[in-house]
Amino acid sequence: MNSNKGISISVKNLSKSYGNIQAINNLSFEIGKAELFGFIGPDGAGKTTLFRILTTLLLPDSGSASLCGFDIVKDYKKIRQIIGYMPGKFSLYQDLSVEENLKFFATIFGTTIEGNYDLIKDIYIQIEPFKTRPAGKLSGGMKQKLALCCAMIHKPEVLILDEPTTGVDAVSRKEFWEMLRKLKESGITIIVSTPYMDEASLCDRVALIQGGNIMKTDTPENIINQFDTALYEVKTNTMFQLMSDLKEWENTESAYLFGQYMHLTINNKDSNELESYLQSKMHKDIEIKQITPNIEDAFMRLMGK
């Protein structure tokens, strides 16, 4: 946010519904130039609808939005020149080879692979050994790299990626985010959506989105700092007993499994009572530690409100 040289995307009171279902509800936000901005939320939160409106594929019911100063309704032709879009579903031609796909997308944007090779080079060399293979026969991680290459081949000013990491394994996901960080350095504004909460910390700023509403927009650090209560990490010798005991305890506000621990927030701020409660329930090896929350903790807390 601090390094912004201007506003790249501006959205005001944007709403869209399908029949009775309010897909997105009065969204407003601004995204700076060369910012890596994440929309974090589960399926059905409205991420795809929002992205389709921003890519001029859908019209909003009300509200307005602009990309690089171009209005998404009036100037849709201009916007289509300057964006790179990767839809949620793998959307390349399965019967075309890696190279043919890339070539095709280069020509429809009026450019060539050679012309913008610098931009995609780092990513493309990873899939180049398979360039004659049909895209449909690539593994998940490769498909996603190819799709990113295709979305960037025309050197877009704004890159819009709808759940690029869904269904992709943890290693490929990590690599993908490393690529995005690099791209950002070259001045491209990137907006990404993801259902994986842990990916939030890799963005400059995130919007936590749920049920068509943005619950919060800020840097990941600020969102964590604004967590409004103490969070405890609890572990004992009988984890699943602990789960139900914590859920039954009258002071428990929320208790969620996190890997091998329970994350707990309590009504009164004294954690000593917790230890005696657990002892009374015959738990042993009790570990209680106050911890810094992560984005997922914050998300669930906001969801609960």
Binding site: G44, K137, S139, D169, A170, P195, Q210, M243, L257
Partner: protein
Amino acid sequence: MTKKNEIPANSKSSPLEKFGKANVIITVKNLVKKFGDFIANDHLNFEVYKGEIFGFLGANGAGKTTAIRILCGLSKPTSGELNIAGFDGYKDTEKIKKNIGYMSQKFSLYEDLTVVENIRFYGGIYGLSSKDIKERTQNLIEKLNLDEVKDKLIKDLPLGWRQKLAFSVAILHEPKIVFLDEPTGGVDPITRRQFWDMIYEAANNGITVFVTTHYMDEAEYCNRVSIMVDGKIAALDTPDGLMKTFDAKNMEEVFIKLARGANNNE
């Protein structure tokens, strides 16, 4: 959701005490599956115990899907020994299918049928009597609080509800093993945890759960986890054991350490 006395004992400190050798429900020995020259599964060896939650991880293209298809009796192995729920993986694939449940993120319920119609349909294909179907439908609707939406089409339900219902339907016929292929993809964090509550409950009722996931924190909820790399099982242990072995602070680190070196192409 889970009642106190149904919670299984902590398996992590003593994984093999509860799941002893006598209770092996899946045996895989030297399993090989080839497609032409390509070896999708290269001499897999593992056992899964009754009532266990077994995490089956691997990078995209490591051969997970192929292995699950074989375990479900949908595909025959090239060579190797295979026993699922007491049935031979070559000859008795039809019996295997009757004794397992399957749910995946991609397909689970018919979107254009209602909740009740879906339950009835799946009950029907597993040969439950209409009395059983009626009874279990009622139980399920009560348990998942679906009374108000029971006559709604699946496509009108939120994803989280659908996934919970899909899981319940997959174990409606009380199978010995249930295979879950990325069951929680895209689900919100709270529903994801409720989903795992249901998995624990099923495991506590004696159903063996065989699950794949890309959420590494979920790997830590499993009794044991195997990680596939390039068609082989690169590691198999309790989450604690894996973290110790690989000197990692969580499963994500373990996974990345193992899978980074892979050739990873299909």
